[in-house]
């Protein structure tokens, strides 16, 4: 089933966070954060992993990047099981897949000038002589549409969107084949989200960079991804081509996610809302507890 066009294969991945030992009684059975998850990412493809908190989407990202070790199942990167590599080999292999983090305020070293952060990534992952690193780092900053003047600034002097692009430039320095973007747009303003999303799309279209786009936002997933994998509580509930999943969702959870995307059209949005509120009022009259659909996470 491995074809030259497949970059990453995830097979029957299971992972449970180590549970706390209880003092008395048997060890509580750990709930699976990731439960028998399989999917693949083709070369030059953007796959969106869509789910809410607790869906296991971030855990899958970390398993894929070998930041976590699965309980069972495999992640194969170009056929190589990433968890079967030794410490040294794994370190040498890591540059192939890079992460873009959610929080632009903690993903950059506050004491490192942003250009130096990119240059450091070059120092770690390439044989580039030190003298050439600045030039290459500047070109990477330009690739994410940042002015190279930004090179000598500290992260605290940049906006969230700029920091996020520095994070992307740093990832690109490793010349990765795969970018895992874990809610990389979630903490940005909508208008900035669009700009950063455009940077990601250009990298994909112009350079064939593959991406796993982890998000809770179906609309953004639609903008970027050719395929969507929907997760709920650690399991894949639906997967398929983006258009199919959004136009004809099969799973009720996917439908709920689609319903939740705001409509930027006052009349239609109001009509929809009225419908929902009326439905809720009906429920309210029938049974006095309308929020039983809401999970209790405590």
């Amino acid at each position: 089933m491995t074809t030259p066009d497949t970059l990453v294969e995830v097979e029957h991945l299971c992972y449970a966070y180590p549970s706390r030992r209880s003092l008395i009684g048997p060890k509580p059975a750990a709930a699976l954060a990731v439960d028998d998850v399989s999917f693949s990412i083709g070369r030059g493809e953007i796959v969106a992993l869509v789910g809410e908190s607790g869906s296991g989407k971030s855990t899958i990202g970390r398993l894929l990047l070998a930041m976590l070790r699965p309980d069972s199942g495999q992640v194969r990167f170009e056929g190589q099981d990433v968890h079967a590599l030794g410490h040294r080999a794994s370190r040498a292999h890591r540059h192939n897949y890079q992460m873009v983090f959610q929080d632009p305020y903690s993903s950059l070293n506050p004491r490192l000038r942003v250009g130096d952060a990119v240059a450091e990534a070059l120092a770690i992952t390439s044989d580039l002589p030190a003298a050439d690193r600045r030039e290459v780092a500047e070109s990477l900053l330009r690739r994410v549409r940042l002015d190279e003047e930004i090179y000598d600034r500290l992260p605290s002097e940049l906006s969230g969107g700029q920091r996020q692009r520095v994070g992307i430039a740093r990832a690109l320095a490793a010349r990765p084949k795969l970018i895992v973007a874990d809610e990389a747009l979630a903490s940005l303003d909508v208008s900035i989200q669009a700009q950063v999303a455009q940077v990601l799309r250009d990298l994909n279209e112009q350079e064939g960079l593959s991406m796993l786009f982890i998000t809770h936002d179906l609309a953004m997933a639609r903008r970027l991804a050719s395929r969507i994998v929907v997760l709920n509580r650690g399991r894949i509930v639906e997967a398929g081509a983006t258009g199919d999943v959004i136009r004809a969702p099969k799973d009720p959870y996917t439908r709920a996610l689609i319903e939740a995307v705001p409509i930027a059209d006052p009349l239609r949005a109001r009509a929809k809302q009225r419908e929902r509120v009326e439905r809720l009022r009906g429920q309210f009259a029938a049974e006095p507890h309308p929020t039983t659909d809401e999970r209790t996470t405590s």
Binding site: R94, S106, R111, A121, T125, A174
Partner: protein, 299 residues
């Protein structure tokens, strides 16, 4: 105020570049910190270049001038051998401060190494190192220091060893705690994801971000070291006569002050110790506030 109308203040992320006061400005805005820094600099200047302007050496005996009260010639009076107290205070201060600095330097080095190893590698290594720190914490330090110096004999090295042996733990603990949290931060994960070695992660990413509280601890450590050295000398376990230190001068002054009423013998070394401790504490507190102040502004 009720909770309904209390929004978090941190969500106002202010534009930083031009409006944000720098670290130095924040430090300087603090009156006590300013006082501490100026006082300490003046004292350092005095003990370093002051002796050039004093026409007496610290060990110059002139029995014809013994036990004189402060005058324009002898600013801090003379002792029972006619030695100039001012010259001796300056000379003793140099040694006291030097000992404190070196002892703190040793303690910080040990603390940083232990804390970094414990925090970064965790597991049993962490456990063993932190239990050792606990053991040192739980010993009555002054008593053990006295014992130690009594056993190996007083001297420059033994005094430094004695002081630093009981002052590295705070640094180690502070550093370990910040490393534990930094280790999980995204930028460290990012560097790890690039394939950075452990050494690079520690030296380039973790330590520089964990050092601020260490500087504060080090500054405060100087005060403690000055006190410990003075206590040792006062007990006669420090540097031996005729070498002067502030604690030693106090010890020599005991009888002169009590039975001879020669207040200047004890007053001046005592004031110097007091001023150094006070200013060092003000500086430490000022550094701390300036660091926190910058953190609040979203660094």
């Amino acid at each position: 105020m009720n909770r309904t109308s209390a929004p978090r203040t941190e969500f106002v992320r202010l534009p930083r570049s031009s409006s944000q006061p720098g670290f130095l400005a924040l430090y300087w805005a603090n009156g006590a910190a300013r006082f501490g820094l100026i006082t300490l600099l003046v004292i350092l200047l005095l003990v370093l270049i002051g002796p050039l302007f004093v026409p007496f050496t610290p060990e110059q005996i002139d029995l014809s001038l013994k036990n004189q009260a402060p005058s324009l010639v002898h600013l801090m009076g003379t002792d029972e051998l006619g030695r100039d107290v001012f010259a001796r205070v300056l000379d003793g201060g140099r040694l006291t401060i030097l000992v404190a600095l070196i002892a703190v330097g040793v303690a910080i080095t040990v603390g940083v190494v232990v804390g970094a190893i414990a925090g970064y590698f965790g597991g049993w290594v962490d456990n063993v190192l932190m239990r050792i720190a606990d053991v040192f914490y739980s010993m009555p330090s002054l008593f053990v220091v006295i014992l130690l110096v009594a056993l190996i004999g007083p001297g420059f090295a033994s005094i430094i060893l004695a002081i630093s042996a009981f002052s590295w733990m705070t640094t180690a603990r502070l550093l370990r705690a910040s490393i534990l949290s930094l280790k999980k931060s995204d930028f460290v994960q990012a560097a790890r994801g690039l394939g950075a070695t452990d050494l690079r992660l520690i030296a380039a990413h973790i330590l520089p971000n964990a050092l601020a509280p260490i500087f504060v601890a080090a500054t405060l450590g100087i005060a403690a070291a000055v006190l410990t050295e003075s206590a040792l000398s006062f007990l006669g376990l420090g540097f031996q006569a005729p070498q002067a230190t502030w604690g030693g001068l106090l010890e020599e002054a005991q009888r002169a002050v009590i039975s001879g009423g020669q207040w200047w013998r004890g007053f001046f070394p005592g004031v110097m110790i007091f001023l150094v401790i006070l200013s060092v504490n003000f500086i430490g507190e000022g550094l701390n506030k300036a660091i926190l102040g910058r953190k609040e502004h979203g660094e």
